[in-house]
Subunit: 344 residues, 4 copies
């Protein structure tokens, strides 16, 4: 039996909530940003990428968020519409807020930096009054990106959306997705992350992100991964995924089973973008009521496919391609059952 049961009568599969942004990736590689002359523009922002990923996998995705009231906002809306993502709940920020921009500096294949434009970012302009109870009621999943908790009124909009989700049996996935911008203090990070995490059904994040969520409560890394998993499962979560970068990640289920996940071996073009590919294939599996190992296998396969390409959003794959990739690599052991108290 799957860890999460979805209400099949709900027509929408998933509503990612948070930022949609634009990535400017340099066309001249292996140099610092001040040496670059031309850029290519892509849709970006973790929850927006997940919406695109889910749509590429054939799931019905909506979106909750605010975009700028200018041509860049139109770019986002058009990009979504062209992929059959519902845009009815995307609002236009009306007080001069601008779409977040990410200029990527690819100094070398293994060393990339980003330069963020997030002063008065449009995505924070979504307010609790903008949240439609009906919209959330009609979706199997609400996915909240942690960055959306960094500032008001977006922060309150997220808590309102979670409240509606819990009222109407819409499952809540909390993707911690920490970005250091816009937060006022680490205490603030910890407080709002832990409030969200105690109300979600699935939490995903890196170990660093869980430390941010917990640190004021437990102190410096004095807790094991499984203790974190125990805590959030006790609070009602069904799945907790803790990522350790190149060392792989561990997924803990409320049924007491844990799995280690490793990466497929691929040639990296850039060191970012895999997370959203991972997330969308993983959620695809949940929606298909697959067992946890199968969800995880598709997640790590999708991630591998995306990090080998130039963009995030435009490299999202369909399920046939992912299955083909997995089949071609069937000798690589990427999913392993592990002891609950495993240390990575």
């Amino acid at each position: 039996m799957a860890l999460l049961e979805f209400d099949k009568s709900k027509p929408m599969d998933i509503i990612p909530m948070g930022r949609a942004a634009i990535d400017f990736n340099p066309n001249e590689l292996n140099r610092t940003l001040d040496q670059v002359r031309t850029f290519t523009m892509y849709l970006g922002g973790s929850p927006a990428n997940i919406a695109v990923g889910m749509a590429a996998l054939g799931k019905k995705s909506g979106f909750i968020g605010a975009v700028s009231d200018d041509q860049f906002g139109t770019f986002i809306e058009n990009f979504f519409k062209n992929r059959n993502i519902d845009t009815s709940q995307i609002i236009r920020a009306k007080n001069g807020e601008k779409l977040g921009l990410t200029f990527t500096e690819i100094s070398s294949p293994t060393d990339s930096q980003i330069l963020m434009y997030r002063n008065m970012a449009a995505d924070f302009a979504v307010s609790p009054e903008d949240i439609s109870e009906e919209y959330i009621k009609n979706s199997k999943i609400l996915l909240v990106s942690g960055t959306a908790l960094a500032a008001s009124p977006s922060r309150e909009a997220c808590f309102m959306a979670i409240r509606y989700a819990k009222k109407h049996n819409t499952k809540v996935i909390f993707d911690i997705d920490y970005r250091p911008y816009n937060w006022k203090s680490l205490s603030e990070v910890s407080i709002y992350y832990s409030l969200a995490a105690q109300m979600s059904d699935v939490i995903m994040g890196s170990r660093e992100e869980f430390d941010l969520t917990e640190n004021l409560q437990y102190g410096n890394n004095s807790v094991s991964d499984y203790e974190i998993a125990d805590k959030y499962i006790a609070l009602g979560n069904k799945i907790v995924i803790i990522k350790h970068g190149k060392k792989g990640s561990v997924a803990y289920g409320a049924d007491g089973k844990a799995y280690k996940v490793n990466s497929y071996k691929v040639k990296l073009l850039k060191s970012f973008g895999g997370g959203d590919a991972y997330g969308s294939a993983f959620i695809y599996g949940l929606l298909e009521h697959w067992e946890l190992p199968e969800c995880l296998r598709h997640a790590t396969a999708h991630a591998a496919m995306v990090v080998a390409s130039h963009s995030c959003s435009e490299a999202m794959q369909d399920i046939v391609s992912i299955d083909k990739f997995i089949n071609e690599r069937k000798d690589e052991q990427v999913i392993t059952p592990v002891d609950w108290k495993v240390v990575l």
Copy 2:
């Protein structure tokens, strides 16, 4: 058996958290404020009044909050020190914040208005980093005043304090204490009140305050008092008190018993100040492990004694005086067991 068990090894009885302020009450009564010439200055602010009330009743009280870095801040500290209230966790706001002021307009015995000075109020300057885990660990009760949730960083400081309280078995009393100042929207009120209420052990508020807490979830007054009580008891609260002004209030216990509370008949000098007197005597009873009816009787008696005097903070009574008042009025039936679904 009492509804709440306290850890007797904790040396502090209660830590009210929130604002300490100054009340300016007019010496010339029955006129509008612009006609007043002289004012008398009193300590004010609901949690500060409760600290004074608890101290008057002989309990060991601390305080968490920020005051202005000027003579008025010194006034608050001295006032507390003179009453043996611990001031070690009172911080001075360093960025020009000023102590909140309340000028009372007593137009007639039944009609009073207030003029508030709360722009850059000092009390909001307390931050999560200011909260001492040890201090909270050493107290039987943490009382959070809802107004402290109205703005950052005080809002986050409250959630941090609640986190420490829950970790160390310090009971949390959430006194909704709504003031329309400083909140940005009613959605914001509802979101943060409901987050606090789902983590507390005791909630006290007027029916209007519970409506603010719930309204976005349930809609316009479509719920009964007992449904609210049920909800918060299910979330872990042991006592829920819902006040209906002159009609009296109802206290719901996690043991399934409910009591109606009425006011003693007294000549009113002013229409405010009773709530903090009520709160401090009620909490006194909890700390004494009294049964709920006895706690409530002292609460309503103390309230009656304070509304008949010119100030709040300086009129707080000791237990001998309250007992004497109750004894003199023993023919007045103020506490009545009622059906759980009673409607006031």
Copy 3:
């Protein structure tokens, strides 16, 4: 011939521009503020005091400024109306701004401190769009208080008012009136004070205030009083008054004559409030086309009468009383012609 000629066809005598506020003076003297129990409330704020002073002297005064939209704002308006000061250009600040408050601490007859409430002060809410060209055109004098330059939009409103005054031959008196609150930096002070001073007809200030106006240009006190006077007379001012506290002050006229002004010997009740009394009697003399020495004699007499009383605004005198005071003290030599390069 007088240094300033006024257009007698203009019906209003003077429009002070800037803050109206409330002073709370303690009724219990010779103690620090945290020991005080009761306060008496007076109208305050330098340009408001001058309006009251001019009205007491029988001149037709208006006022430009913003007050709070509450009972304290009503207090100011009523106070002015009762003294026949035109209130048609007093606006109500609509965004929660509050009237400035000054709590006075009179620790001893010679030592007084103030505690100011000026966060989101209502007086800064007057904007250039609020300024009526017609209103200024119809007045002989516009008096700008330097504090009104400390923040926007009041700052821009002052420059707009000065622009209209210069266009319509309304004389501009710049009363530097420096308060350290609300300014962001000393550079800012210097920049806006010097811009105002180069467009005025009369400047009045203490030597410290002139240093603030000049310091970035000249450096630390390397200039004499007369060099400052020379500069501003060259830029078009007709009278420059530089005050040196107890040492007296010097008034420089555009006719090349300078006068030293000393205080009458009186028993001081408090160490503040004389400046506005000085200003109003001095301007009264200008409006009467008196010679400079006669203006100055009345100024210093009026100051002496006011510092001996409990309030500023309510102690303002009529001309008969001032003349009587001067006549009684005719043996005191308070006005002396001095060399232009005199050093105090």
Copy 4:
């Protein structure tokens, strides 16, 4: 004799003051911005372009302004250094301010729009304390871009720089350069533009910009160009240039002579960028002590050369090229003496 005499002992020719920014120009033309895929990055911002233009013409240019403390700030500094522009007074904004970005939408050869990123723009971070009196003293010209007056502390920094310039006989050129971003109201625009214009030696702007400067004083276009010129010449300006777009512009000299300036006929690539080319060649002429008509001829020639190319900053010409262009077009009558009261 030239209208402006420069002190030849000053080693620096000109210090433009204001914003340095980045222009992103689309590589795919004739489409709206949301359809563009790749952009080329250029240095932009009017005073930065003028610095580049002056350097291309062989003059010694400095710069006063703030840039972001990131790779884009480094791009600006490197761009300047490579052209021998002094960068010693360029400061790094330290509070998260970002360099202004301008995304250009070239919908058609005659229709271009811009999308500006100016929330918390770095250029406004220069403060009066950052201004070096010595630096300004050592330059023949200070050029203030009007956009730098739109917000604090840059606004105050400009007035400080003008103060130093006037003290040390450094000529002040006020290039109105109005952008609607960042200003709070049109009254504010008018107040600060007119304050700057009454202290400058040369003013350049479009008729719309002069209307913004004057409108609150004079009302709706009820004044002729020559009346504006008269006013600012009376206040001390030596040259006033009022531009009327395609109809040409008129230059008024303090010697009472006026000249009409027309554009050379060129094929337009884009509808912007000519102004800074015009300005730099014009100022080159002033520095060479040329007569006004010769300055203007080079200005309009330089403008014509730059609007025909893809960028502003990188298309700036040297004097040989401009002279060659003028020589080739010697039959085009672009400069004409006109009556002072000419109407365009």
